[in-house]
Symmetry: none
Subunit: 202 residues, 4 copies
DNA sequence: AATGAATGAGGTTTCATTCAT
DNA sequence: CATGAATGAAACCTCATTCAT
C-alpha cells in the first residue's frame, strides 16, 4: 500500500517537470543544476531523485510528455471531414499552441534534447519519433490524393518528412526572434506555400 | 613588431578552430574539454589561451568563420544573370555543401551555437546574422519581381525569413537521419516548392 | 505495560539483525544502506529506527550477538573431563562452526567490525572481548598443566592470546580463499601444531 | 618532453600515498575523504587526480607499494646459508618491521584492503598475492627438509599457507592492542611454536 | 506501531583557467 | 612563446535520519 496517493505522486512529477522545463529553457540543460530544479520546484535535491533516477531522465521524460501532449491532436483530426480541413485544423493548432507561454518553455528544451540525443541516442528514439510525426502528415496527404483534393504526383514520404523539417525550422527561429506575431505570419505563409504546392491548380 | 609572423598566428588559430569544430561535432560543446581541443590541435592547453580568451570565444569564432565562408557565395551569385539562375546556383551550392564531410561537422556545432546564444546573446548576434542571410534572399526575390520572373504579390521580407527558417529545419533534420541522399532529395523537393510558390503560374 | 509483547520485539530485532548480517556480508558495512536492510528484513526504513538508534548500533549488536552465541560453548566445555578433551572439543566446534553457511556471513562482518572499532572504540570494547576469549583458553591450559597433560613452562597468558590471534588469522584467510575443505585442513594442521607445542614430548 | 622530472612525479605520488596511508590508518578508507588526503599531502583535491584516477586506485597502489617493499627481503634471505638461518632472519625482520612507525600506518590499511577486495576482487589480486607469500615460505621449508634440518613429513603447501594465516592474525591483533612489546613477545612465541613444529626432535 | 517521503550535508570527480618554468 | 601542473569551485548523486500521516 503506497503511502501517498497516485495523484500526489503524479503532481509531484509534473511539478518537477514543469520546473525543469522552466530552468532548461532559461539556462539550457547543461547549465541547469539539479539544485536549480529543486529550488524552482519547491522541493529538495534529494526529493528529485525519488521521482527521477537522473537529471538526464528528467530531460527524456520532458520530451515524452510534450510529444504525448501534441499527439492528443489526433482525436480532433479524425473529426475533420476532408484532408484540407485537417491541414487547416493542424495549422490552427500549431498557431495557437506556439502562443501559449507554458508551451514556449518546452520548445527550447525540445531542440536541445534533439541535439543531445543526436549524440547519445542509443535506442534510436529519434527514428521512432520521426516516424510518428511523418505518419500523421502522410495519412492526411494520402487521403487528400484519394479524394482528389491534392495533386496525384506528390511523393507522400518525402513530403511528410519535409513538412516537419520545415516546420521545425520555423519553430527554431521562433526561439531566436521571440516574436509571436512574426512567428504567426511565418506559419501562415508556410501554410500558403504548402497549400499552393499540394493543391491542384485550377 | 610581433615576435612571430602574422601568418604563423593565423595558422595556429585555424588549427585550433579546426580541432574545436571536430571535437564539438563529436561530443558537443559542453562535453568537449579544453584538453580535448589541445590534444586534437596538437598544441598544449596553455597555448589555447594565447590565442583565445576562453572556450566560449572559440565557439563564437567558429561560427563567425563559417558564416564568412558561406558568404563567399555572393561573388558567384552576382555573376548569375537572372533571379531564377541565382536560386538555382544557391541550391546547387547548398546541395554540394552538405555533402562535404568537413562541413558536416560544423553544421552540428552551428545549431548548438544558436541554442547557446539564444540564452546568452547580449550583443544580439543573432539579429545581425539573420539580417545578413535574409538580405541575400530578399535581393534575389526583388530582382525576380522586377524582371517579371516571380509573382508580384510576394512579401519579400517574410519570404526571405521563411526561406532560411525552412532551410535550417531541413539541415537540422540532416543531423539526425544522417542520410546524405535523403537530405538531397529533401532539398530538391524544397527547391521545387519554393519555385512553385514564387513563379508565375502559366 | 508495553503495547506489543516482548517476544514480538525480540523477533523483530532478530529479523533486522539477520538481515543486516546478510547485507553486511554481501556488500560490507559501508556499502550497505539502511534501505537494503529494510528490504532484506521485510520491514520499513522507519521501523528500523524503532528498534535501533542508528546503523552503527546494529553493527555493534550484531557483534554482541555473535560473541554471546559463541560463548554458549562454555556449557559443553565443562563437561569434557580433561584439558586435551576440551581442546579437542573446541577444535571440533571451530571446524563445524566455520562450515555452517549462516555463520560464514557473520565472519566477514566480524572483521569489518574489528577494523571499525579499532578506529572508533571508545568503550574499549575490544579489550573486554579479548579478555573473555583469552580466559577461555587460559583456564584450559592451566588445567592441563595442573593435571600434567601439558608442559609446565608454557606462558599461559601469552599462549592464550596467541591462540586467538592465530585462529583469527586462519579465519581471515578463509574469507579470501573461500574454500571450506582447505580451511578445515588448515585448522587441523593448526590443532596439530598447538598440540605439538603444548604436550610433553614422550 | 615532460614538464617536470620523473623524480618530481615520483615524489609527488609518494607524498600522496604517504598521506593516504596516514589518513586511512586514522579514519579508515571510507571515512577518509579525498579532501583529507589533499590536505594531509599538502596539495589540492584536483592535483590528486593528476596522479591517481580514483580514490580506489590510491588504495590499490598503497597495497602494491607495501608488498613490493616487503619482498625486498628476498635479497637478504638468499644470503642466509641454512633454512633455519632464513627463518631466523625472517622473524628478525618481522619483529623489526612492525616497530617502525611509518610501516604501522600501512598495516591497518592492509587489512582494510583485504576486506575490501574480498568483496570487489575481480582480478583475483588476492590469489596472486597469496601465492607470492606462500612460495617464499615453501622454498625455505623445502630447503630445510632437503638439508635434514626439518622434519620430512611436513606438508609444505599447507604449512606455508598456515604460516601467513597465523602471522596475519598476530599482526591483526597488533592493530587492536597497539602494544609493541606485547606484539614482539607474541611473535617470538610464534617463532618458537613454528620451530618446535618444524624441527626434528632430538 | 509502522511507514516511506523528505531532507541536505557531504561524497567523489571534472574542468576551465592560471602561472611558474 | 609554449607548456602542463596546479587549483578549487561546482556538478551530480547518495543516504542516514526524521517525522507527518
Amino acid at each position: 500500500m503506497p503511502k501517498v496517493s497516485k495523484k500526489y505522486k503524479e503532481e509531484k512529477v509534473a511539478a518537477i517537470l514543469d520546473a525543469s522545463a522552466h530552468c532548461f529553457a532559461e539556462k539550457g540543460y547543461n547549465d541547469t543544476t539539479v539544485d536549480d530544479i529543486a529550488k524552482a520546484s519547491g522541493t529538495s535535491k534529494g526529493s528529485i531523485y525519488l521521482y527521477f533516477s537522473s537529471k538526464e531522465e528528467i530531460f527524456y521524460r520532458l520530451n515524452e510528455r510534450r510529444t504525448e501532449k501534441f499527439f492528443e491532436i489526433k482525436k480532433q483530426l479524425v473529426e475533420q471531414n476532408s484532408a484540407s480541413a485537417k491541414f487547416e485544423y493542424l495549422f490552427r493548432h500549431l498557431l495557437s499552441g506556439a502562443i501559449e507561454k507554458e508551451d514556449l518553455n518546452t520548445i527550447a528544451v525540445q531542440f536541445e534534447f534533439w541535439i543531445y540525443i543526436s549524440k547519445n541516442d542509443k535506442e534510436s528514439l529519434f527514428d521512432a519519433r520521426v516516424k510518428m510525426f511523418t505518419t500523421l502528415i502522410k495519412d492526411i496527404v494520402e487521403e487528400g490524393i484519394e479524394t482528389g483534393e491534392f495533386r496525384k504526383d506528390v511523393n507522400t514520404d518525402e513530403f511528410s518528412k519535409l513538412f516537419w523539417s520545415m516546420m521545425d525550422g520555423i519553430v527554431l527561429h521562433l526561439l531566436f526572434h521571440k516574436n509571436d506575431s512574426e512567428h504567426k505570419r511565418m506559419v501562415r505563409l508556410y501554410e500558403r506555400m504548402v497549400s499552393t504546392y499540394l493543391k491542384i491548380q485550377p
